[in-house]
C-alpha cells in the first residue's frame, strides 16, 4: 500500500530527460499543465499524448512505473468522473433516478478524466526524472527573483528538501512500527471504521515521537555544521543551461504553440 506512491519517487537511470536542467523541466511542466487546461477538444489530446510519449520514451523510465503513479488517485478520478457525468446540465439522454445523464455530461466527464490522468502522469514525470535535491535547487533558483519582495526562497526550498528527504524514512518507520505492533497481535485491516481508527493510535504515537526526535537531531546536526540560512551559500553543483536544455525548450515551445493554435483555429 505504501510502496506504489510514485509522486516524489526518483527513478535513477541515465537519460536525456534526467540530464535536463531542473529549472527547464519545472518550467516545461508548468506550461504542460497550462496546456492541458487550454485544450477544449478531444482531438488535441492526441498531441498531448504524443508529447508525453516522447518524454517517457526518452526518459527510459519503464511505462509500468509511470502507470503505477495513477493508482493512488484512481478514486479521485472516479469521483470527478461521476460528478461531472451526473451534474452537467444539457440534452438529457438517460434518466437515472434523481440524476440525468446528458450528452454534455458524458463529454465533460471523459474530458476531465483524461485531463486528470495526463496531469498526474505529466507531473510525475518531473519527479521521476529529477532527484529531490535537484528539484528543490531548481525551485529555489526560480523563486530567487521574488526574494526582493520578501519571499524566503532559500528557507522554503530547504524545508521542501527536508520534507522530501524524510518521506521514505518515515514510510520505512511506519512499516517497522506496524510490524512490531502486528507482532503483538494488532489488527489494522478489519473491524468497522471506529475500531480501525482506534487501531491506528499504536502506530501514530510512536511515529510522531520518532518524527519529533528526528527533527530535533537534524536541527542539532545542522547547527553543529554552522548552518545559518541561505545568505552567501555557494553550491557544489551550480545549475547551468546547456545545449540540450535549449533544444528541450524549443520542442516544448513548438508543442505549446500547436496547442494554442488548435484552440484558436479549430
Amino acid at each position: 500500500m505504501l510502496k506504489n506512491l510514485t509522486i516524489g519517487q526518483h527513478y535513477p537511470v541515465d537519460s536525456v530527460i534526467h540530464d535536463l536542467d531542473p529549472r527547464v523541466k519545472i518550467m516545461i511542466t508548468m506550461f504542460y499543465i497550462v496546456s492541458l487546461f487550454l485544450i477544449n477538444q478531444f482531438l488535441a489530446y492526441i498531441l498531448v499524448v504524443a508529447f508525453l510519449g516522447l518524454i517517457i520514451g526518452l526518459s527510459k523510465v519503464p511505462i509500468k512505473m509511470v502507470i503505477r503513479g495513477i493508482r493512488p488517485i484512481l478514486v479521485i478520478i472516479a469521483i470527478t468522473f461521476f460528478i461531472n457525468l451526473l451534474m452537467t446540465p444539457g440534452e438529457i439522454i438517460y434518466e437515472l433516478g434523481p440524476f440525468n445523464i446528458t450528452r454534455e455530461g458524458i463529454r465533460q466527464a471523459g474530458f476531465m478524466a483524461i485531463r486528470l490522468v495526463l496531469l498526474i502522469i505529466g507531473t510525475s514525470m518531473l519527479t521521476l526524472t529529477t532527484s529531490p535535491i535537484l528539484l528543490t535547487d531548481g525551485i529555489e533558483s526560480l523563486l530567487n527573483p521574488f526574494k526582493k519582495i520578501g519571499l524566503p526562497a532559500h528557507e522554503l526550498a530547504m524545508m521542501m528538501t527536508i520534507a522530501l528527504r524524510f518521506i521514505p524514512t518515515l514510510m520505512e518507520e511506519t512499516e517497522k512500527i506496524m510490524k512490531a505492533q502486528k507482532a503483538r497481535g494488532a489488527d489494522f485491516e478489519s473491524g468497522n471504521l471506529i475500531r480501525r481508527a482506534k487501531s491506528l493510535v499504536p502506530l501514530l504515537v510512536p511515529l510522531f515521537v520518532s518524527a519529533f526526535r528526528r527533527a530535533d537531531e537534524l536541527a542539532m546536526a545542522m547547527e553543529a555544521r554552522c548552518y545559518r540560512g541561505g545568505d552567501h551559500r555557494t553550491r557544489m553543483r551550480a545549475l547551468r543551461i546547456i545545449k540540450i536544455d535549449y533544444m528541450a525548450m524549443m520542442i516544448a515551445s513548438i508543442y505549446f504553440a500547436t496547442v494554442i493554435a488548435s484552440r484558436v483555429y479549430f
Partner: protein, 286 residues
C-alpha cells in the same frame, strides 16, 4: 513441536528493477527448548528471515512450519501464530505508545481478547520476568524510563502474549554495558524457564556466552552452522565474511601461534582465564 523452515527464499521488490535477493534457499529447524543464535553482517538477511517465523512476511518460495502448521495456510489465523512466536524487533522501545507501562504491556494480551483478570496476571508476570517491581513500574509513563528500562518494557510487551518461542533481533544494540547485561540475564533466565529462544545478533560475545547452536548467515544463505565452539574454530572464514570471533578466541589463537600450548576451545573470558592458567602451568611442569 518445532519451527521447521525448508528451502525458503525471499526477494524484495519482486518484478521491479530494484529486485534484491534477501534470503536464498534457507533451511533450519528450531526444536523446543533450543537456544539458537543467528549471526550475520548487516544485510545478510537475518531480519527478513525472522519475520517469516511469525508470518509478518509470508514465504515466496519454500515453507515455514510452526508446530506443524504451514503459515501460508489460508485457514490459519495469523494472530495465533504471532501469539505462539513472540518477535522482539530491533530497538523495540520505539514501539511504546501508551500512557502507562501497564497499558502498554497489556496491549498484546488485550489484542488476544483475554479477560481482564488474565490480562492483569500476564502483565504482572511479564514485567516481573524482565526484572521489574510490578507495583513500582506499572503507573509510570514508558517515555520517562531509561533506554534499557524502555527496552525491557517492550520485551515484556511481547512476553505478555505468553509465546512458546521468543525471537529477539539485536536485543542489546545501543545499550550501555549495564543495560546489556540486564537484558542478557533476563534472556538467559527465560531460557532456563524452558522457553525456546532465537537470538539474532552480531555481537560474537553475546552469542558465545548464551547460545547452544549457531547459524551464520552470509548474502542470504546459511554459510555455516554448528555449536559456537565449532563455528568459532573457523575464525579466518568468519573474518573473510565480515564477522569476527570473540576477542578471547583471537587472543588464544595468537598465543597458540606464538608457541604457548593452550587449548583454544574457550569462548568466554572465564574459560579463557582457566585455559591460559592451565597452559602456563602445564608449560612450566613440562
Amino acid at each position: 513441536m518445532p519451527i521447521i523452515i525448508e528451502g525458503l527464499s525471499f526477494y524484495y521488490g519482486e518484478g521491479t528493477p530494484f529486485e534484491t535477493k534477501a534470503i536464498d534457499n534457507v533451511s533450519m529447524e528450531i526444536k523446543n527448548g533450543d537456544f539458537v543464535g543467528i549471526i550475520g553482517h548487516t544485510g545478510s538477511g537475518k531480519s527478513t528471515l525472522i519475520q517469516h517465523f511469525n508470518g509478518l512476511i509470508l514465504p515466496q518460495k519454500g515453507t515455514v512450519l510452526i508446530d506443524g502448521q504451514n503459515i501460508k495456510d489460508k485457514n490459519l489465523k495469523l494472530k495465533k501464530i504471532r501469539q505462539k512466536v513472540g518477535l522482539v524487533f530491533q530497538y523495540p522501545e520505539y514501539q511504546l505508545f501508551e500512557e502507562t507501562v501497564y497499558k502498554d504491556v497489556a496491549y498484546g494480551p488485550i489484542n488476544l481478547d483475554l479477560n481482564p483478570e488474565e490480562v492483569k496476571q500476564r502483565v504482572k508476570n511479564a514485567l516481573e520476568l524482565v526484572g521489574f517491581d510490578y507495583e513500582m513500574i506499572k503507573d509510570k509513563s514508558p517515555f520517562d524510563l531509561s533506554g534499557g528500562q524502555k527496552r525491557r518494557v517492550a520485551i515484556a510487551g511481547v512476553l505478555a502474549m505468553k509465546p512458546d518461542y521468543l525471537v529477539l533481533d539485536e536485543p542489546t544494540a545501543g545499550l550501555d554495558p549495564a543495560g546489556r547485561n540486564e537484558i542478557l540475564d533476563n534472556i538467559r533466565k527465560l531460557h532456563e524457564n524452558k522457553m525456546t529462544i532465537v537470538l539474532v545478533s552480531h555481537s560474537m560475545e553475546d552469542i558465545a556466552r548464551l547460545v547452544k547452536y549457531v547459524y551464520v548467515m552470509y548474502q542470504g544463505k546459511i554459510h555455516m552452522q554448528g555449536t559456537p565452539k565449532e563455528v568459532y574454530s573457523h575464525s579466518e572464514e568468519l573474518k573473510r565474511i565480515g564477522l569476527g570471533v570473540p576477542q578471547v578466541v583471537d587472543l588464544l589463537t595468537a598465543l597458540n601461534k606464538n608457541g604457548l600450548m593452550i587449548s583454544s576451545e574457550a569462548l568466554t573470558v572465564e574459560e579463557a582465564t582457566n585455559a591460559i592458567l592451565h597452559g602456563i602451568r602445564g608449560g612450566l611442569n613440562a
